[in-house]
């Protein structure tokens, strides 16, 4: 009996050795302590657990990356900026009311999933088409909008997802696609012209029926008077 219990205990122990199960809050605490950083976790963020498998030591940059990944996967976001040596973790629905670090140079984007804002100048394509089409590949709490006039687009999302989106935009935002876009516009105009309804006689009649009633009344009045004149002259023996 004792041996069996011991065996089960040892098996559980060996299983625990396989992976490092960590609590998100503890992981954040350890990271902040190690790097002497201040942090704040929103009351709406609940703790959860995840596993880290592997023998290799993970450097501090990658530890922060894991924190941002876990936040993304659990509908939360890690934000930097404002105060020095400070980061905060907020729930998904709180992201809208937060301020983010703004970037305009792709090379300066952090290599992790913290939430940031990026302003991109579109060179050739219509910025409206980009914002319309790229919405499905933004993350759950990501936003994309265009200024309309200046062909600037503003993306708010995780830094690494923004770098993915920028790669896509750069692949299609070329002079060749500008040419294609013009051809597409011309075709659209041609099709619009073709699909416009051309008004037939009866369309005009039904549209201007008041005018036609007056016109036909006048015509029939004239015909009536002519017929009356003709009949009178017949009866009186003029014809």
């Amino acid at each position: 009996m004792c041996k069996n219990t011991l065996t089960i205990l040892l098996i559980i122990l060996s299983l625990n050795l396989l992976a490092k199960e960590v609590s998100f809050f503890n992981y954040v605490e350890e990271y902040a302590k190690g790097n002497k950083l201040n942090y704040s976790i929103s009351p709406d963020v609940k703790d959860f657990k995840f596993n880290i498998f592997g023998k290799d030591a993970i450097n501090q940059e990658d530890v922060f990356k894991i924190i941002t990944i876990q936040a993304m996967l659990n509908n939360k976001a890690v934000l930097l900026g404002g105060l020095d040596s400070f980061f905060k973790i907020v729930a998904g629905r709180e992201i809208k009311s937060e301020n983010f670090p703004t970037y305009t140079d792709e090379k300066l984007l952090p290599d992790n999933y913290q939430f940031v804002r990026f302003i991109y100048n579109v060179s050739f394509l219509d910025s409206r088409e980009i914002t319309r089409n790229l919405r499905p590949i933004l993350s759950r709490n990501g936003r994309i909008k265009d200024e309309g006039i200046g062909n600037k687009i503003i993306i708010t999302d995780s830094a690494k997802n923004i770098s993915k989106i920028l790669k896509i935009i750069k692949t299609i935002d070329t002079s060749l696609t500008k040419k294609y876009e013009w051809e597409e516009k011309e075709l659209k105009e041609e099709l619009n012209k073709l699909s416009e309804r051309r008004e037939g006689f009866w369309d005009v009649v039904t549209k201007q029926h008041g005018l036609f009633i007056i016109l036909f009344s006048l015509i029939f009045l004239i015909i009536g008077f002519l017929f009356r004149g003709y009949m009178i002259r017949r009866i009186e023996g003029g014809l």
Partner: protein, 242 residues
């Protein structure tokens, strides 16, 4: 004696759970996962490939035990592919990162960074990839509309109508098939036929009365509203889970 017994038990239990995969001359020896827990598989793979793997415990999802029998010696890259195959059966994906990678639900993976491939270099993988295919003829919207059903549950296709480009997000093998179909379709002949069809449709549209057009518009509006409602319901249920 007791100490020896204890040592033996630790050794035995460890070997039973953590040493299914053996490496010899950089090749993985034949092995079998029989009703093995996915956590054990992830641990084995991370040991053999020498990478760290992060895996979030999802209480709402029931992961089935894994069965896999490899009869021949395979390379580490092949092992990775078998690993992706096992993950994809449970709707999971592996996203590579500098420290190794993250195992996550396939539906979440589109929020993460991944390599973008052109149409010539799509890998034969069960892992999710992002592919951009620039079409020669203006057929991208037709292609994305009519062939969308060829993609997997979490697959996506986005068309940049103006730029004649298709953005495909799906498992490598499926994305490759999709792009292959797009390439076959991308001919001048098909483009002419498509334009002719558009012109015919436009002419037919011009013959419709105002009332008929209004009915069509209202029907389109109803469809859009229904789609919006489905999307809202889905996102609400997602938020409830979180």
């Amino acid at each position: 004696m007791k100490v020896l017994w204890l040592f033996m038990m630790v050794l035995l239990s460890h070997s039973a759970f953590a040493n299914i995969l053996q490496i010899k001359d950089e090749f993985v020896q034949p092995f079998e996962f029989e009703k093995t827990a996915l956590e054990v598989v992830i641990q084995e793979v991370s040991n053999v490939l020498g990478i760290n793997i992060v895996y979030t415990l999802d209480d709402t999802k029931k992961i089935r035990p894994v069965n896999l029998k490899i009869m021949n010696v395979i390379s580490k890259n092949e092992l990775k592919e078998y690993f992706f195959e096992l993950l994809s059966r449970e709707d999971l994906t592996f996203v590579e990162e500098s420290f190794g990678g993250v195992v996550m639900n396939s539906r979440d993976s589109r929020d993460f960074h991944m390599e973008i491939f052109d149409s010539e270099n799509i890998p034969n993988t069960n892992n999710y990839v992002l592919v951009i295919y620039q079409m020669k003829w203006p057929l991208s919207s037709m292609m994305s509309r009519n062939f969308r059903s060829e993609l997997s549950q979490y697959g996506r296709v986005i068309d940049f109508r103006g730029g004649r480009a298709l953005l495909v997000y799906d498992k490598g093998l499926i994305a490759k098939y999709f792009v292959q179909r797009a390439k076959e379709f991308d001919t001048e002949d098909n483009s002419d036929k498509y334009l002719k069809k558009l012109q015919e449709d436009a002419t037919a549209e011009s013959k419709k009365t105002k009332e008929e057009k209004k009915i069509d518009e209202l029907e389109d509006k109803i469809k859009d509203l229904e789609l919006e409602k489905i999307k809202k319901d889905k996102s609400n249920s997602k938020n409830d889970i979180n």
